[in-house]
């Protein structure tokens, strides 16, 4: 991926190429190049780094951990890494000594329940599931019922992948959110939009549509161990003020980081 040379070695063209090739998008790039001109910036790379830092600092990346059980709902487009991220987050909380329960809310995709069950077995955490084709709202309801009874600390809810163009599937998500709120008497602690770091401009549309369906509180940026820097989240954070709360850096159970500004910027620049 495109790396920028320090200070005065980078021309305006280099900066433009860097921003576009890291998926910052045309709007952000043109606006930034305008800013460089207007401010007669001598160190454009330093100025860019500062701008990115400011954007990342403008949101609170801490997790919402009040109440018991802590409830996280994972949503996102197909194949972005929801199920794997749930396993990692379960491991994260289990290592803090918390009692975790998983809810197999993807009742649609082939072997989705088996996939999450295998993770539950590996982690030695309970999982609530029904058979394939059952109503996800019903599994979520049952799962939360069980979590409340068992006085579990953390509940992680998986949902089926869905593309933003399917209105009925977005409505299904809204319904899941309502079921959660009705069952625990408050909103979920986190509704996490799982976003693949390789995604291009479509990520903006994903955020746009998913935030209309549910109250997205944070992003899990996955596959950052790949050849993409996930630059798309910078314009997303600037525009939507949604923080990245977790970063996925591999396929293993331990390949999860709480969002780390330095880590993110260093792998980007």
């Amino acid at each position: 991926r495109k790396i920028l040379k320090r200070k005065t070695d980078s021309t305006i063209d280099d900066i433009e190429e860097f921003l576009i090739e890291n998926n910052f998008g045309v709007e952000f790039t043109e606006h930034f190049l305008e800013e460089l001109k207007e401010n007669r910036v001598k160190d454009p790379v330093g100025f860019l780094r500062k701008k990115i830092e400011d954007i990342l600092d403008s949101v609170d990346t801490s997790l919402s951990l009040d109440g018991r059980p802590i409830v996280f709902l994972f949503v996102g487009t197909n194949g972005s890494g929801k199920t794997t991220s749930i396993a990692k987050v379960a491991y994260f909380f289990r290592n803090q000594g918390k009692k975790v329960l998983l809810i197999a809310g993807d009742t649609f995709r082939a072997a989705a329940i088996e996939q999450l069950t295998k993770w539950a077995d590996k982690l030695n955490v309970p999982i609530v599931k029904q058979q394939l084709g059952s109503d996800p709202a019903s599994v979520v309801f049952d799962g939360l019922e069980s979590a409340l009874k068992k006085k579990v600390d953390v509940v992680l809810i998986d949902s089926a992948g869905r593309v933003e163009t399917k209105k009925n599937l977005m409505n299904e998500l809204s319904k899941l959110q309502r079921v959660i709120e009705k069952k625990i008497g408050r909103s979920a602690n986190e509704v996490l939009l799982v976003l693949d770091a390789y995604t291009g401009q479509n990520a903006v549309e994903q955020v746009e549509v998913f935030t209309q369906a549910v109250n997205v509180t944070g992003i899990v940026l996955t596959k950052l161990d790949g050849s993409s820097s996930g630059g798309i989240i910078v314009p997303i954070i600037e525009r939507y003020k949604i923080p990245v709360k977790f970063i996925g850096v591999g396929e293993g159970i331990g390949d999860l980081k709480l969002f780390d500004k330095e880590f993110y910027i260093n792998q980007l620049m």
Binding site: V26, G79, E164, Y198, T199, G200, Q201, E205, I232
Partner: protein
């Protein structure tokens, strides 16, 4: 949106009648923005705009009564020239045809494998699905479930090593007179040396009728590097782009074709077994450029 940007460009051109140098520059800028917002790679956009500009500057365009139409046609022809035509699967009758699907994690290989088997079944051709992902939890179960649901044959006796599994599957095919197999590999990064070595090892030991790169249409600028990486390890015969039912413009398709020179064979248009369509360049171009 891309469509809006290009419509802006075309409106601009058409409103101008005869075109000045400045007009061409301005119109091309709109086109450039449109292509970039459609996720076409920066370097490719540069090249395409350069070629369109060279041709737009020719006397016949400047002196034309309909320069806008000329430039639009030039752009369209450039994109068509890059994309090429749909190319079918390389199935040779009375031979063993191995189709291997490769690509990044979560891009749609397993689902596409089942769709391909179903597609071939509807053409009267029997294909054996071979689970070849030994890493992801319940990967094999996923392919088996898809096979069972849709009346497709799947090779169930998998060991846990790629090469012995394929050898066993081949003898199974011979015994049962099956001539086509679709191998669903584990998702992997082109920068993962160990996983790419596993792939090249398999590629070297068997003969494949098709090695298809399966990619999500929502991938951004990085598509160029990923496609290049895979094409350098195995000789790809084509690409399949999934999630065409999303609102992604799919500029990655152009990047793939441009950097590998390989044809796009299919697009995935949903999660159902029937959601696989033969690639039509016109449809992709109109999606990218509105």
């Amino acid at each position: 949106s891309l469509k809006n940007n290009l419509q802006k460009a075309f409106k601009f051109f058409r409103s101008k009648g005869r075109l000045s140098e400045q007009d061409i520059k301005e119109g091309l800028r709109e086109i450039r923005v449109a292509l970039l917002e459609a996720d076409v790679n920066y370097k490719i956009v540069k090249e395409v705009i350069k070629r369109v500009e060279e041709q737009a500057r020719s006397q016949k365009v400047i002196e034309s009564l309909t320069p806008a139409e000329q430039i639009i046609t030039i752009l369209y022809n450039e994109l068509v020239a890059i994309l090429g035509d749909a190319v079918p699967l390389n199935i040779v009758p009375n031979e063993t045809n191995l189709i291997m699907l490769v690509g990044l994690q979560g891009n749609g290989k397993t689902t596409t494998a089942a769709k391909l088997a179903y597609f071939l079944k509807n053409q009267g051709k029997k294909a054996l699905l071979i689970p070849f992902d030994f890493k992801r939890p319940a990967a094999k179960e996923q392919l088996v479930a898809l096979a069972e649901k849709n009346g497709l044959e799947v090779f169930r006796d998998t060991l846990i090593e790629p090469v012995p599994t394929l050898e066993k599957a081949l003898s199974y095919m011979q015994k049962n007179g099956i001539q086509i197999a679709i191998i669903d590999t584990a998702g992997r990064k082109e920068i993962d040396e160990e996983m790419m070595r596993e792939l090249s090892d398999v590629y070297a030991k068997f003969k494949f009728s098709d090695v298809l790169f399966v990619s999500d249409s929502t991938i951004g600028q990085g598509a160029l590097k990923v496609a290049k990486g895979f094409s350098e390890i195995v000789d790809l015969t084509g690409g399949i782009f999934t999630k065409f039912d999303s609102s992604a413009k799919g500029g990655a398709i152009l990047s793939f074709r441009y950097v590998t020179g390989k044809p796009i064979k299919f697009v995935g248009t949903g999660e159902k077994i029937t959601d696989l369509e033969v690639f039509y360049p016109d449809r992709v171009i109109s999606r990218i450029v509105g």
